[in-house]
Point group: C2
């Protein structure tokens, strides 16, 4: 009798260029799929209006953040436009071990590090419908100086070249649609034969 | 600038042991996703109650069917419990060329042939929640003699071993849920990087 592996927690990595809309799409998905664990990043960037400690980010000083790096407490980290961003490691590993799906919404540099440690993760690259739209979104955010906007745009163009290292590309034309595609990818990945038949198995129909 | 391939039609192959519920799930999916083309098989099996020519099957005599085999008009065919089943080839190829997704609901033998010709297809293996449930479903159909039922069950056990040649396994516990998983798989496959970046490309954001 064929055996099926018990569904294990998936590590879902949502990345893509700055301005692609990762935060908005991930917030929408959170409403749709409350059963997924959303990892909270640490950052040294100052809070934007409405952002809450422990919900959107853990806000850290530079020296606190560097201590976390030194203690190997971060699954990935990156310095991005002058600020540190990183993912506290232990929480993610605990959730996965308990069989829960965990979503990381992280920058492209960080995703590269996670891919080395968790090649079995599901890597999703979110892109805006066009470069013009990307510029519009970055400018509209209105919290950055013109120089930072230009920096981000140049970086975004570089980051788009990383697309082919991902498993999926999702175009963020409308948030609802992008979030529905993410949901589909997660459901589909749980049905993939190599996830169901590899490693520890449980009896099918037993 | 990175380029994205225009979404092409997917060949989706839904297979699995007799009694898994392929017909019911595929009918449910047809309601959910009317944009998908559902290939109609040819068969020499007599129509069951309510089945319509050209809708459920093209009903053929043995000699008509053997002529189609001789003319290479079938994408796949199999003899199964005394009857021929097959997929007319031209219709499928035309639909794919026009960019439409095509779903084939076929037996395990036939799926094996399609996999050789269309390795880029999406191969989904539908299974019942357990072997006991499979027996119940085959018996409940009530159109077969006890010998045929036993034949089908033995065959189904053999067929379950094919699971690892598929891309996805979908457990048919409830039809709505199985159909939703199929839908997710189709949406997800359209986002897969290797489908978007290989072959002919179109400009992204151009």
């Amino acid at each position: 009798m064929e055996t099926l592996r018990k569904n294990q927690g998936l590590l879902i990595v949502l990345s893509g260029p700055s301005g692609a809309g990762k935060g908005t799409v991930s917030a929408h998905l959170r409403e749709r799929m409350p059963e997924i664990t959303y990892s909270v990043s640490a950052t040294t960037r100052p809070p934007r209006r409405g952002e809450k400690e422990g919900v959107n980010y853990f806000f850290k000083t530079r020296s606190e953040f560097e201590q976390m790096i030194a203690n190997d407490e971060l699954l990935e980290w990156a310095e991005y436009v002058g600020n540190y961003y990183g993912t506290p490691r232990r929480f993610v590993e605990e959730q996965l071990a308990e069989g829960r799906d965990v979503l990381l919404e992280i920058e492209v540099q960080g995703a590269r590090q996670v891919r080395k440690r968790f090649p079995q993760g599901v890597f999703i690259f979110l892109i805006p419908p066009s470069l013009d739209e990307l510029r519009r979104r970055i400018e509209q955010r209105g919290t950055e100086s013109e120089e930072v906007v230009l920096n981000r745009l140049r970086r975004a163009e570089e980051e788009l070249k990383e697309m082919n290292h991902y498993d999926y590309v999702v175009v963020n034309d409308r948030v609802e649609q992008a979030s529905e595609r993410l949901r589909s990818i997660i459901i589909a990945e749980h049905c993939r034969v190599e996830r169901l038949l590899s490693g520890k198995t449980v009896s099918w129909g037993g």
